[in-house]
């Protein structure tokens, strides 16, 4: 009896050991970034590197606050991310729902095409996109970033929502129809509330994707007042010198809103990740 208990204790210790080690490997770059923001410039590149700042100071935060438009960048990041999320869901929900609920000619091809499109890296298409965006007259507007970002997040979202919609029993919708609900009411009152875990996962993925976009902002937005966080960080790369400490500080500030968002949505994200894995 004792031996059995000890064995299971040992198993737990080993399991947690491995998990903590993995977590350490993943978290270390973030820690390095975070701790560096409290070091003076000279200490960041000292060799051997220091684990803790020798003289911690919040000087870099004060400098970032005074010398950069970090708040504006965060605001722009939010604007671009929320716009992308809205546009993506507006298109992905009806596309996924109609595929999940109807059989139509070319459905398979459509879904496959959606998947194939995702295989192109944005950089491959950037020249063509530039052409399209100037033709539409949206160059140097937020739409020049929101529309391409939505285009690249759509495939994943269509597929994930398609899979999730399929797990919602059709009889629920039939029951609602008999209860007197219109198609729009069925979607808003029955289907979407039940899709919440998948929607949250979808929102998170899209939000993150748009938040971190540098390429589109770099290519399609020239007005410094429209920069997002990554573009703001990039603007610190100078021709002659790069202020690493400031870059790291802006990065830290830039991920804070995401951490808050994740903390709120964590429960749903986990549910969404395993959605459709088993049929209930």
């Amino acid at each position: 009896m004792m031996a059995g208990q000890e064995r299971s204790q040992l198993r737990k210790v080993r399991l947690y050991g491995v998990l903590i080690a993995l977590l350490g490997i993943m978290m270390f770059p973030f820690y390095a970034m975070f701790s560096s923001t409290f070091k003076p410039e000279s200490e960041i590149f000292s060799s051997p590197a220091t684990l803790f700042p020798a003289e911690a100071s919040i000087q870099s935060y004060i400098e970032v606050w005074a010398q950069t438009d970090v708040l504006l960048w965060i605001g722009n990041s939010f604007l671009i991310s929320l716009g992308t999320v809205a546009l993506t869901l507006l298109l992905a929900i009806p596309a996924a729902y109609s595929c999940a609920r109807n059989d139509f000619v070319g459905k398979r091809s459509f879904l496959l095409a959606v998947l194939v499109v995702q295989m192109f890296a944005p950089v491959v298409l950037i020249v063509g996109l530039f052409d399209v965006i100037t033709q539409f007259g949206i160059y140097n507007t937020y739409f020049a970033v929101i529309i391409p970002a939505a285009a690249f997040t759509l495939p994943f979202n269509v597929w994930m929502l398609y899979g999730y919609f399929q797990t919602i029993p059709e009889s629920l919708e039939e029951s609602a129809r008999i209860d007197g609900a219109s198609q729009r009411q069925i979607l808003t009152k029955i289907v979407l509330p039940l899709t919440k875990p998948a929607l949250v996962a979808s929102i998170t993925y899209t939000f993150l994707y748009a938040w971190n976009r540098l390429l589109f902002v770099l290519t399609f937005l020239t007005d410094a007042g429209k920069y997002n966080i990554p573009r703001g960080v990039f603007s610190m790369v100078g021709a002659l010198q790069t202020d690493w400490r400031m870059m790291l500080t802006v990065s830290v500030i830039g991920i804070l809103p995401l951490l808050v968002l994740f903390a709120f949505l964590e429960e749903y994200i986990v549910a969404g990740m395993t959605a459709g894995a088993v049929k209930e």
Binding site: S171, L172, R177, G180, I190, L194
Partner: protein, 366 residues
């Protein structure tokens, strides 16, 4: 309350004929059970009445209105689904009031009153604030029923509503459903594959097979005078015994031969090949002179009575007899099987019932 009339209703999926020219009328306030094996078209028929499936041809009337092109929400029906289809994100109260809230006909106070009344009728008032996942199968089933009741529809449609319950609860809910239906007096169409449910619940039963209506009549009529061999075999448990026999005229009756039979019966019947049907409970087993000799294979005690599984040395197939629980023949023992001529059924080569003597004609299916 309304009658429901189906006229030559047909449903074709791609090239599959699911329902073929079904024609019957459900009377106002009647409890009609549609029964048949899987894939017989009973659920499809119900879904066509609900408006969830389109009709390929024919007409469906609810009340005095042809509803072929009327949307489900405008048919004034309520449906209970096999999996209950409760909205998982809504409380029991919200589930039950969902339909009423969608319509702007009702004040909040009236909605509350109706939900509370239905909950009282179903004995679930304490569950109103719970979520469906917190309920047992039987409670979910009551909520599904409650959702239908609050809407006070013209017609109840029920698609195998008891099949997800365990045996004991199923029996209990059977009587419960009948009580509620009687109390409300709403025309009800109930689909099941379980012939016991059909026999015990229906004012009348409609038996379907391969998309065709086989018979619609009171349960006793379907049992006593099945329209055809399919109905005869489907209704009753254990199933009716069938014997392929040759009939020749002889003196004041007919002579039966084949499958172990060499006997004369006092009935009038044209000569030819027939299927003779006898229910297990109509077979008398003894050592006296009977109509057929058979050897006992297995005795299955059921408590109230015994099922004997026998075979005739010259015949093919198993014979089942339902006998008194006191009677315990040894396996291998040869017994004599007898029956009254009122209790036997003859079917022709197409499977249709052949009336013997002056029995009343089968009731037409319309």
């Amino acid at each position: 309350m309304s009658k429901v009339r189906l006229s030559d209703v047909t449903k074709v999926y791609d090239d599959l004929l699911a329902v073929k020219e079904i024609d019957f009328t459900v009377r106002d306030g009647e409890f009609l059970v549609m029964v048949g094996p899987s894939g017989c078209g009973k659920s499809t028929t119900l879904r066509m009445i609900a408006g969830l499936e389109t009709i390929t041809s024919g007409e469906i009337e609810i009340g005095d209105q042809i509803v072929n092109d009327v949307r489900p929400q405008d048919r004034d029906i309520a449906m209970v689904f096999q999996n209950y289809a409760l909205y998982p994100h809504m409380s029991v109260r919200e589930n039950m009031s969902f339909g009423l809230r969608l319509s702007d006909e009702y004040e909040d106070a009236e909605i509350d009153e109706r939900v509370n009344d239905a909950a009282d009728l179903l004995e679930i008032p304490e569950l109103l604030d719970q979520l469906p996942k917190q309920l047992s199968g039987g409670q979910q089933q009551r909520v599904a029923l409650g959702r239908s009741i609050v809407r006070d529809p013209d017609v109840f449609l029920m698609d195998e509503p008891l099949s997800n319950l365990d045996a004991k609860l199923r029996t209990q809910m059977r009587t419960e459903l009948q009580r509620i239906q009687e109390e409300l007096g709403v025309t009800t169409i109930y689909v099941t594959h379980d012939q016991t449910e059909a026999m015990t619940m229906g004012d009348r039963i409609a038996i379907l097979n391969d998309g065709e209506l086989q018979q619609i009549a009171e349960p006793e009529v379907c049992y006593d005078r099945p329209n055809n061999k399919f109905v005869a075999g489907f209704i009753g448990s254990p199933s009716m015994n069938f014997f392929e026999v040759d009939v020749t005229e002889s003196g004041d009756g007919v002579h039966l031969s084949g499958n172990g039979f060499e006997t004369t019966l006092g009935v009038s019947l044209d000569a030819g090949a027939y299927t003779l049907g006898v229910r297990p409970e109509d077979l008398t087993v003894g050592t006296d002179e009977g109509h057929l000799e058979a050897a006992v294979d297995v005795v299955e005690p059921m408590g109230s009575d015994n099922f004997l599984y026998l075979h005739s040395p010259e015949g093919d197939g198993e014979i089942i007899a339902r006998v008194d629980s006191e009677y315990h023949p040894d396996p291998g023992e040869t017994v004599s099987l007898g029956f009254d001529i009122e209790d036997i059924h003859f079917f022709d080569e197409t499977g249709d019932r052949v009336p013997i003597d002056d029995e009343p004609e089968a009731i037409p299916t319309a």
